[in-house]
């Protein structure tokens, strides 16, 4: 363990150390404010550490066989940390309602971030498994955190059973892959395929049918990952869990867990050179990915159309977005791997910023209405009552819909670029049809914001939104708006940063 290795692990070590310190802090004094400030400090320090590392790191650092730190992973971890700071701020608004002290919430939150941190740097199925489970088990606790809510048991039980099933599928897949390749590391599989003598030894010793097991193994592995990313055939849990979980936790599910798992999927996928190399490329696997992607885009967007509940709508829209993102995996030449990484990271940044803005508004208005279910109609006429929040939503929605001059548009442009290079016409048409359907429900929200509220069209028990924001909240709303617009108009600011790495 050289100094360089320790240095490159620093962001994750900070978060891990932060968890121990938080436990000590809880033993010393139970105070909501203290633990909140402490958590945000830990995340900010880790963010600074990853940023300095991101700037300094010249080459990927392999730390033992388990972990490989590279700039792409570090950038993803920065996104994770930004999202988790937003989650901490949102949860401080939500947790003030009751008299209890909620230390555990923040410890669980830090555990989720640690799991995500391990996932984005993992280079081995064992570390993937550790990160994956750290993330999911802490998330189950968070999903059912508000015990008084009528849905808490249902939501967390659904999430627990389905996520445990998904991880068993993934583990069985890993076991099959291991039985074929003899190594749990991502990158050595390339070596196995180059050097077929290993395979022949295995076949001689243990009979035949191993390649079949490898194929089945990768399929099972994908089932586990697809569940976590809520891709189309495995998306059924998403709307229920999004709706039943507390809003900050929904933001966590939508951003942190998806980013981390998508990044680890990309690492695993690209290090298996068999899928990248044209000659030996496994058509079946590419076909499988296209099916996942196309089904997610179409089903996600189509089911979002009739949703009234905002969180359910966002759940379906996130299914569609993960479908779009899968396009970057369909890469046929090793040269375009760098482009695929840039596209994925840019798209994820746009998605994270938009999600933070929308969930922030959901939390603020939910607090105002003082009810757990928030429908699209509850935002009626918000533009006239509360312009800054409304602008925040409009920018975020336009970005999700992919309208020009927003980050979402540039992100979609990147994806189209990748798809055109790979000549995947079916994927491109699904992307276009999906975005077209998406416009319908995204624009409906914007229309609702501009509806003039008068006595006649106020539905029963509907209060027009006229909440007053504290200066701190107003300030953060402004920052998010400016950031989204700025990066939408000058995407090079981020694009160049991503190009210069590696």
């Amino acid at each position: 363990m050289t100094q360089l290795m320790l240095h490159s692990l620093l962001p994750v070590l900070i978060v891990a150390f932060g968890i121990v310190l938080s436990l000590l802090l809880i033993a010393w004094r139970r105070s909501q404010k203290l633990i909140l400030i402490f958590t945000i400090t830990i995340f900010s320090v880790a963010l600074l550490a990853s940023f300095s590392l991101f700037v300094d790191l010249a080459d990927a650092v392999q730390v033992t066989t388990l972990v490989k730190v590279d700039s792409y992973g570090l950038f993803a971890f920065m996104l994770v940390l930004v999202a988790s700071i937003a989650v901490s701020v949102l949860s401080s608004m939500w947790l003030t309602h009751t008299t209890e002290v909620h230390d555990e919430f923040f410890v669980l939150l830090q555990l989720v971030v640690l799991g995500a941190g391990i996932l984005v740097i993992s280079d081995h199925y064992a570390s993937l498994f550790l990160g994956f489970e750290l993330l999911s088990i802490a998330l189950v606790g968070l999903v059912g955190y508000s015990r008084d809510s009528e849905f808490s048991v249902e939501t967390s039980f659904k999430y627990l059973v389905l996520s445990a099933c998904a991880s068993s599928f993934m583990l069985l897949g890993i076991a099959f892959i291991y039985s074929y390749s003899g190594s749990l590391s991502f990158s050595t599989e390339q070596l196995m395929f180059d050097n077929m003598s290993d395979l022949s030894i295995l076949v001689r010793n243990y009979g035949h049918g191993d390649v079949l097991f490898y194929r089945v193994g990768f399929l099972l592995f994908m089932v586990g990952i697809a569940f976590k990313l809520s891709l189309a055939p495995f998306h059924l849990w998403t709307p229920d869990v999004y709706q039943g979980a507390p809003t900050p936790v929904t933001l966590l599910l939508a951003t942190v867990s998806k980013i981390a798992i998508f990044i680890v999927l990309m690492k695993c996928w690209f290090s298996q050179a068999i899928f990248v190399d044209t000659k030996s490329s496994d058509e079946n696997m590419l076909f499988l990915m296209s099916i996942f992607a196309i089904a997610s885009m179409l089903i996600g967007n189509a089911l979002a159309l009739k949703q009234q509940n905002i969180k359910r709508l966002l759940a379906y829209s996130s299914i569609a977005h993960m479908g779009y993102l899968l396009i970057v995996l369909i890469v046929i030449s090793p040269q375009s791997v760098a482009l695929a990484w840039q596209s994925a990271l840019f798209y994820l940044t746009a998605y994270v910023l938009a999600s933070i803005s929308i969930f922030m508004t959901v939390q603020l208005t939910q607090y105002h209405h003082n009810k757990s279910e928030l429908n699209v109609d509850d935002w009626q006429g918000m533009f006239w009552q509360n312009p800054s929040l409304a602008v925040l939503i409009i920018v975020a929605i336009l970005s999700l819909a992919g309208i020009p001059l927003t980050m979402g548009f540039i992100g979609k442009f990147y994806l189209l670029n990748v798809a055109v290079q790979a000549q995947q016409w079916w994927l491109i048409s699904a992307l276009i049809i999906g975005s077209g359907i998406g416009l319908f429900y995204y624009l409906r929200i914007i229309f609702v914001l501009f509806t003039i509220v008068n006595e006649k069209n106020i539905a029963k028990e509907l209060i027009p939104v006229s909440l007053t924001l504290s200066p701190a909240v107003n300030f953060s709303v402004m920052i998010v708006i400016i950031l989204s617009v700025l990066l939408g108009i000058f995407p090079d600011l981020l694009g160049n940063l991503l190009v210069t790495v590696n």
Binding site: S168, A175, Q243
Partner: protein, 102 residues
């Protein structure tokens, strides 16, 4: 000693896994759902140990120990949820948990 082919071990593990999975999707009692999940995880353990011994490596057994830890953590959470459920609905029937729809 006769060496058992690796494919036989993997097929055994798959059969156990499918039994567990069928249990998860057909059982009505949540306690049995949790038990079936354990069967699934242990089936994976069999596959890992078989593959590890075929390759003469310790990796398979290391993974099995990690899986055991995971199973313990999951059961702890699951049982906590069962207690909540018993308090609220006075039964462990999974059909109580179907309020969220749309």
């Amino acid at each position: 000693m006769i060496a058992i082919p690796l494919s036989h071990i993997l097929i055994l593990a798959s059969i156990l896994f499918v039994i567990g999975f069928i249990g998860v999707i057909t059982r009505k009692n949540t306690l049995f759902i949790l038990m079936s999940l354990e069967v699934m995880l242990n089936a994976v353990g069999v596959a890992f140990i078989g593959a590890g011994s075929a390759w003469q490596q310790a990796d398979g057994q290391v993974m099995f120990i990690l899986i055991l830890t995971l199973a313990a953590a999951e059961v702890a959470l699951g049982l906590a949820l069962l207690i909540q459920m018993q308090r609220r609905f006075k039964s462990l029937d999974i059909d109580n948990l179907s309020k969220l729809k749309g």
